[in-house]
């Protein structure tokens, strides 16, 4: 689903760097990054098949973009955008007052908001999911509320945040919190409900305490489900922060996009889109790696 879409371009990016270096740099430099996994007779064909399709995909996008902007107009060409990006990333951490800071600061401020909002959501959502999955009374009690609140658009929560906190930054964090909590609550609860009865029978025969049941049986059994929820949540949080920052202002990638729109600097907006995409991809990739680490083999 979402992850599958995010996956393949990532695989491409991942392999892109070594592939470029093999074609341009001396062979001595090339094997270091790529040749770790495969054995001595290197599978060039496999690498080609892995790297080529994503490269063609990216190439196609850039090609169409270049074709469409060939005749000039307000939309910048790929080359112009790239040149501007190089300039922008040459000094990402400058600070000239609150409304003019480097792109690095903007990204970091956004990430900080996401981290706080998402962290709070995990802190509340995961235990809540456990309780909801474990006690059917609670489940029946809160499931209508969840069904009611979950489909609400992220930005509808922003005014509530502004009203309650009377400041932009907590309101943005609040919006992240409320939007990224649902996937974690729901996935954790479903995971708890799907713990194999065999394992619970073991717990019943051993007459384990509720704490032991939680830590030794439910938590490990639910972990894969929980991590799916976390992944979806981080994705949502990153989606929401851009929109929220457009409205709240301050330093952040979302506000930066809006600010550049007001300056009519379309090149910077395009760069921001790429940056947002790449950061989202990296977040997703990191969580997939964590999830892989914690999934056990079924027996």
């Amino acid at each position: 689903m979402v992850s599958a879409v995010f996956h393949s371009p990532l695989g491409g990016l991942d392999d892109e760097a070594p592939a470029v270096s093999t074609s341009t740099a001396a062979p001595a430099a090339a094997p270091a990054p790529v040749a770790r996994r495969p054995r001595k007779p290197y599978d060039w064909n496999g690498l080609l098949l892995k790297v080529l399709p994503p490269l063609i995909g990216v190439g196609l996008l850039v090609g169409i973009w270049a074709l469409l902007t060939m005749n000039g107009g307000s939309f910048p060409t790929p080359a112009a955008t790239f040149a501007e990006a190089v300039k922008l990333f040459a000094d990402p951490f400058y600070s000239k007052g609150p409304n003019d800071q480097g792109i690095g600061w903007n990204i970091l401020f956004s990430l900080q908001r996401v981290a706080i909002g998402f962290g709070l959501a995990a802190l509340v959502g995961i235990p809540a999911g456990f309780l909801i999955g474990r006690f059917s009374f609670l489940n029946h009690m809160v499931s209508p509320l969840i069904s009611l609140l979950r489909p609400v658009s992220p930005l509808a929560w922003l005014p509530i945040g502004l009203l309650v906190f009377k400041a932009a930054n907590p309101a943005a964090i609040w919006t992240i919190f409320i939007c990224s909590i649902w996937p974690m609550v729901i996935n954790t609860a479903v995971g708890v409900q799907r713990v194999p009865t065999d394992y619970l029978n073991v717990a019943r025969v051993l007459n384990l305490s509720e704490w032991k049941v939680m830590t030794r049986i439910l938590f490990p059994a639910v972990l894969p489900y929980m991590l799916t929820g976390v992944r979806l949540s981080v994705g949502t949080a990153w989606l929401v922060i851009v929109a929220a920052e457009m409205l709240t202002g301050g330093v952040g990638i979302g506000f930066w996009v809006w600010d550049e729109w007001n300056n009519l600097n379309v090149t910077h907006i395009l760069i921001a889109i790429f940056v947002i995409g790449i950061v989202g991809l990296l977040l997703e990739w990191a969580l997939v790696a964590i999830a892989k680490r914690f999934t056990y083999d079924e027996v």
Binding site: Y199, N201, V202, R204, V205, L208, A221, Y296, E298
Partner: protein, 268 residues
């Protein structure tokens, strides 16, 4: 059997499952008493409800009629004094073999013994089933038979009053099975455990049991006949193979299962 010496007492137990397709009458009129230290096997064709009866004694399911008593107390819930060896081993995949056993040991002896003693118990239980070498392995790294042995070790490590076994050796190869049966006989002789075991293996039933409870075919299965095996202990499978008493008991069980209660062709 004098009722005052009975340890497990099943009185008129009845089990009706309400499924989506309607009510399923699994067991009726089950009356059974098991004495302390007795080894009883439940035998019958597939679907005769022998596992259901074991689950009732374990307390994993509660009967829809009648009563079950263990050690003068009504069986209302499962507990560590009635350890269960599950048909499908039910080891927790995220714990090593040692940790799986230790979880049980910790629960039963955790309050009364030191950490070193608990560790020793867990390792001893693994040693008993010849699995000490795999203590640090996770269940997915060992074979099906080995998993079952760890499952048995987990149950034995709790030193339960009653050991309930649901076809524990069913998935094992013949040699491992024979070895574990012999080990089980030794352990039972030493600990005087009360054992109720579900099996479909006639030889296993005769070799291990004091009494064999033979069940009629379901639905609404009940106890057809109870056969007392009066063979002297310790029993040796090689010597017994030619023993006339052994052959006679074996014939009795086979006769019950295949002549009088032959499985209906359609039943699996």
């Amino acid at each position: 059997m004098a009722s005052n010496s009975s340890f497990i007492e099943v009185h008129q137990a009845e089990m009706v499952f309400s499924t989506k397709k309607g009510r399923f009458h699994a067991l009726r009129d089950i009356n059974l008493s098991v004495a302390k230290g007795e080894f009883v096997t439940l035998i019958g064709h597939s679907g005769c409800g022998k596992s259901t009866l074991l689950n009732l004694i374990a307390g994993l399911t509660l009967p829809t009629g009648g009563s079950l008593i263990c050690d003068s107390r009504e069986i209302a819930a499962p507990g560590p004094e009635r350890a269960v060896v599950f048909q499908n081993h039910s080891l927790l995949p995220w714990l090593t073999c040692y940790e799986n056993v230790h979880l049980a040991v910790e629960r039963v002896f955790g309050t009364s013994e030191s950490k070193a003693q608990l560790k020793e118990r867990s390792l001893a239980a693994l040693g008993l089933v010849n699995m000490a070498h795999a203590a640090a392995k996770r269940p997915h790294e060992i074979s099906g038979g080995m998993k079952q042995r760890v499952g048995i070790a987990r149950a034995l490590a709790m030193e339960p009053k009653v050991l309930l076994m649901d076809e524990p050796f069913g998935a094992l190869d013949a040699l491992t099975r024979a070895h574990l049966q012999d080990e089980l006989l030794k352990i039972v002789a030493r600990t005087h455990s009360t054992v109720v075991m579900v099996t479909h293996d006639v030889d296993e039933a005769v070799l291990l049991s004091d009494r064999i409870v033979m069940m009629t075919n379901g639905p609404a299965a009940t106890i057809g006949e109870i056969l007392s095996i009066e063979l002297p202990r310790p029993r040796n499978r090689v010597e017994l193979a030619e023993d006339s008493g052994y052959v006679h008991y074996r014939k009795e069980v086979l006769d019950f299962l295949y002549t009088r209660h032959g499985v209906v062709a359609s039943a699996a």
